[in-house]
């Protein structure tokens, strides 16, 4: 396999528009995700972060140009995009509650040799609960299942939507650890409200405001600028946001 050119972004999004039930929820969004590290997608509640990710995956109607390592994926159906190595960890986890943990993971295995040991070492908790129905797990454990479903395959890109939402601080750290580990194997586009997690994981940020990109650049440049943090994200600084 010939790898991408060193500086070529793994994902490039140009003039992306997304619609849900006829309503425009993503408007002319353009940005790149570099081939390594974590890129955070930020913005106030309801600004269209989740919709942007769903548009990239074709989970909602979209137009525009999306390239994965240079190849167009904006007309492909969702399952084909995922088969090309794009893993998705949705907001609110979306584990299959009536299926066991083991079945959730088995369903997600796309590769001939799934990385079961990696998943087991990242989430030892899940090993003990393989036969438990995912619907009866705690929120944190469900998030582990959702992450494990993504990490069990080799991916070229991870799309991770608010993985720490509603979790206790200790679990937030665990999730962040797992993401840091995952980022060593594949680039991540991460939606995250917790700015401490963003600061820890992300090198770059993309900020959306009313459906459009209003800032792209190094994470520190944004996070150190309290004025812009407040203007773009509606929080005063990361100590309060955490």
């Amino acid at each position: 396999m010939s790898g991408p050119v060193a500086d070529e972004p793994i994902l490039s999004v140009r003039n992306l528009y997304g619609r849900i039930a006829g309503q425009q929820v993503v408007e002319d969004v353009s940005f790149d995700v570099p081939a390594t590290g974590v890129t955070a997608l930020l913005g106030r509640n309801g600004v269209g972060k989740t919709s942007t990710i769903k548009s990239i995956l074709g989970l909602i109607d979209r137009t525009g140009e999306v390239r994965l390592a240079g190849e167009r994926i904006d007309r492909a159906p969702t399952h084909r995009i995922v088969q090309r190595g794009v893993a998705y960890v949705p907001e609110d986890r979306e584990v299959f509650g009536s299926l066991t943990v083991a079945e959730n993971l088995r369903l997600a295995e796309r590769d001939r040799s799934p990385r079961r040991e990696l998943v087991a070492s990242l989430f030892p908790d899940l090993e003990a609960r393989r036969e438990q129905r995912a619907g009866t797990l705690s929120g944190g454990q469900q998030q582990m299942v959702s992450l494990a479903r993504a990490l069990v395959n080799e991916n070229r890109l991870l799309l991770v939507d608010e993985p720490t939402k509603g979790l206790a601080p200790r679990i937030v750290d665990e999730v962040a650890d797992a993401l840091a580990e995952a980022a060593r194997t594949a680039p991540i586009l991460l939606v995250e409200q917790n700015l401490l997690v963003v600061r820890r994981l992300a090198e770059r940020v993309v900020v959306l405001s009313s459906g459009r990109v209003v800032f792209t650049g190094p994470a520190e440049e944004l996070l150190d600028d309290h004025d812009r943090v407040q203007r773009f994200l509606g929080v005063h600084d990361e100590r309060e946001a955490a």
């Binding site: 995922v82 979306e94 009536s98 796309r110």
Partner: protein, 291 residues
């Protein structure tokens, strides 16, 4: 006592027919959100073609019936798959259009069947044993009830095993819960749509042949009547739940039998009252997922 036993076993036999239709309806709705009004037509065409094949080879014998069943299953599955591939698939996610087009198919199918086989029921020959009775606790039970119950139990067991033990079964169970997340794991869920239609069509096809055994005739309207009760069963059991469909099939059919006998032939009315009660008190049905 003997009346109770007779009503109970007859109810179970009728429930078996309902289940053979309702299992497919429930799976199809659960996975795809499609209310398949064409399901009765799958049953009727399978009953006719199964009967045509069986009587030509060996009328009124077990061999003939086995051939009818086999042909019925194949015809039911084939017609269902064609319906999915040629029509339903093109209306992906457009649930109202899908429901309307299946209503159209069911109406057109009845007209077509009447054109070919006439408007009157055609009485069929059955193996002698099926027309005899067996005494259980003093009740003389028509033997065809046992065949129906056994077949439905086999189908239920088979579908459950398939859902629990195979990868496609896993995909279907997950898809019933959250179709979009299944695609987001890189799985082409549309392939399991076709498969679910095949399974549902096969069960309905077998149901068609067994219905002709139970009623003693084939007719262009065989499927329409069973479809109504199968839909009621599916709603009471909880749309999308196979277990719910199985339980509700037995419940509805037994209740129907008892009301017909003890409440002056009000079986259908009682079933509709039960349906209304379930819709008011527990709209998601006995085993349906919460809305």
């Amino acid at each position: 006592m003997d009346t109770l036993v007779l009503l109970l076993i007859t109810g179970l036999g009728l429930g078996a027919l309902y289940f053979l239709v309702a299992s497919g309806l429930s799976l199809i709705y659960g996975l795809m959100g499609v209310l398949n009004f064409a399901h009765g037509a799958f049953l009727t065409i399978a009953a006719f073609l199964g009967w045509e094949a069986g009587r030509r080879i060996s009328d009124g014998t077990w061999t003939g019936l086995a051939i009818s069943a086999l042909v019925g299953i194949l015809v039911g599955a084939t017609v269902a798959v064609l319906t999915e591939v040629l029509i339903i698939r093109r209306l992906y996610e457009r649930h109202i259009e899908q429901a309307l087009v299946t209503v159209g198919i069911s109406l057109a199918a009845v007209a077509l069947f009447e054109g070919i086989w006439g408007t009157d029921p055609i009485y069929t020959d059955r193996p002698a044993w099926l027309t005899q009775t067996t005494e259980i606790l003093g009740a003389r039970i028509p033997n065809d009830r046992f065949l129906l119950i056994a077949c439905a139990a086999l189908v239920l067991g088979g579908i459950v095993l398939f859902l629990r033990r195979t990868r496609y079964g896993l995909i279907i169970r997950a898809g019933v819960e959250n179709r979009h997340m299944v695609t987001a794991l890189g799985i082409d869920v549309r392939r399991s749509f076709t498969l679910v239609f095949a399974i549902g069509g096969a069960a309905a096809g077998l149901g068609g042949v067994l219905a002709s055994v139970y009623y003693g005739y084939v007719s262009a309207h065989l499927g329409s009547v069973l479809l109504i009760f199968a839909f009621i069963v599916t709603v009471i059991g909880g749309l999308g739940s196979l277990t719910g469909a199985a339980i509700a099939s037995v419940l509805v059919a037994v209740l129907q039998q008892f009301a017909n006998f003890y409440l002056g032939g009000t079986g259908d009315l009682v079933v509709v009252v039960l349906l209304a009660a379930v819709l008011l008190i527990r709209p998601r049905g006995l085993m349906g997922k919460a809305a």
